[in-house]
């Protein structure tokens, strides 16, 4: 019997990387995002967008309304099978824990903002996939938070927005907003299991809010 060929380095590398797979939950999230975004048209360039609002290094203006509006997280839609999956299998407490965990994880990453501005109107123009009116949260209005900027992200498979804020002491705060849907309504305000961070969940005027900060 002829002995099998000795594997090559190419074989070993292909086997090594071939075993690596993006976990199903994350894959589902990315696929869901693609479902809600318009079919892309051929682009003449693969460069980043012309506008460049990279952070200037300084804190944005002290405009809480602008922060809320510009940072707006957009939950555009949920893939129908994911929605039915939630409804049939996940309790309110479990969902709150998952949302809180995801918010805490995103906060901990400390990702740079995509749009650096302290002005709500300006950020709204750039984050044009919003499909609901941003809400100036009464709950946060008097906390004196300063907007740094915002970026797109996702929450439980929904394309969302993430707002970076700072307290007067310079501590980072991350705020998420998304259009309120049935699954997110009625979640407990202080879910458990949040990586040592203080997580708050609440609704205001048809918008779901998630806030992450150090305790």
């Amino acid at each position: 019997m002829k002995p099998s060929r000795q594997p090559t380095l190419r074989d070993d590398l292909r086997r090594h990387y071939g075993k690596k797979k993006l976990e199903d939950a994350r894959l589902s999230q990315l696929l869901a995002m693609a479902d809600v975004v318009e079919e892309p048209t051929p682009s003449s360039t693969d460069s980043e967008p012309a506008e460049d609002l990279r952070p200037s290094g300084g804190v944005g203006q002290r405009v809480w309304m602008a922060v809320l509006a510009s940072a707006a997280l957009v939950a555009l839609l949920v893939v129908p099978w994911m929605r039915s999956s939630w409804q049939s299998q996940v309790s309110t407490e479990q969902l709150a824990s998952r949302v809180a965990e995801e918010i805490a994880m995103n906060h901990s990453k400390g990702l740079d903002v995509e749009y650096a501005t302290g002005d709500l109107a300006e950020l709204r123009r750039h984050m044009h996939k919003l499909d609901f009116a941003l809400v100036d949260s009464q709950r946060l209005r008097e906390q004196g938070l300063t907007l740094v900027g915002g970026r797109y992200c996702s929450i439980q498979g929904r394309l969302a927005a993430q707002l970076s804020l700072q307290t007067a002491d310079g501590d980072a705060v991350t705020l998420y907003q998304t259009a309120l849907i049935d699954d997110l309504a009625g979640l407990p305000e202080h879910p458990e299991g949040t990586r040592g961070l203080r997580i708050e969940l609440w609704n205001e005027e048809g918008v779901f809010f998630g806030l992450a900060r150090s305790p």
Binding site: T8, D11, D12, Y152
Partner: protein, 169 residues
């Protein structure tokens, strides 16, 4: 590299992107985060959903972030005269499977070295194609793979018993 991926192939595209991101980060969590970040960027820009754009976006975001973190080490590159032969070592016998040390050996590589190795060995690109994709000179790509080869070889040479008449990477 102008594959246009149909909806049904998006999953495979994302998995390829994940593996490429993993070659850069060598950390599955970071690779997943990088992929998500790049994917959102692509969707937002309305970029075509094919491997060229995805890989370019992944690469740009990874190295941009690394630069901001000041984690990009500058190492001198060696001169390589024959770019076409630079990948020949990939098809030589390897003992990583029996030693189970490939994961750790890859960790020793710099992201750019691991990237070049991945694109050559797993994705099957030539030195020229890798140079075009990564916007680097062919000599640089050749040097990167050769450096990766030497580092991987040091793992094999240190631990495995000598075998007579055997060519190895």
């Amino acid at each position: 590299m102008t594959e246009v991926v149909q909806d049904a192939q998006l999953e495979e595209l994302l998995q390829r992107g994940f593996r490429y991101a993993l070659s850069l980060t060598h950390d599955e969590d970071r690779a997943a985060d990088l992929l998500q970040d790049a994917w959102i960027s692509m969707l937002r820009r309305g970029a075509p959903r094919h491997v060229g754009y995805l890989f370019a976006t992944l690469r740009n975001r990874f190295f941009d972030l690394e630069k901001r973190r000041r984690l990009v080490a500058i190492e001198p590159l060696d001169a390589v005269s024959e770019h076409d032969d630079a990948l020949a070592f990939l098809d030589q016998a390897s003992h990583f499977a029996e030693m189970g040390t490939l994961e750790k050996a890859l960790e020793d590589l710099r992201p750019a070295e691991r990237e070049a190795l991945f694109l050559a060995a797993v994705e099957g690109y030539t030195v020229r194609e890798i140079a075009d994709m990564t916007e680097q000179p062919k000599g640089t790509v050749s040097s990167l793979v050769q450096r990766a080869r030497r580092k991987l070889k040091s793992w094999l040479g240190a631990d495995r018993p000598a075998q007579d008449g055997e060519a190895s990477a």
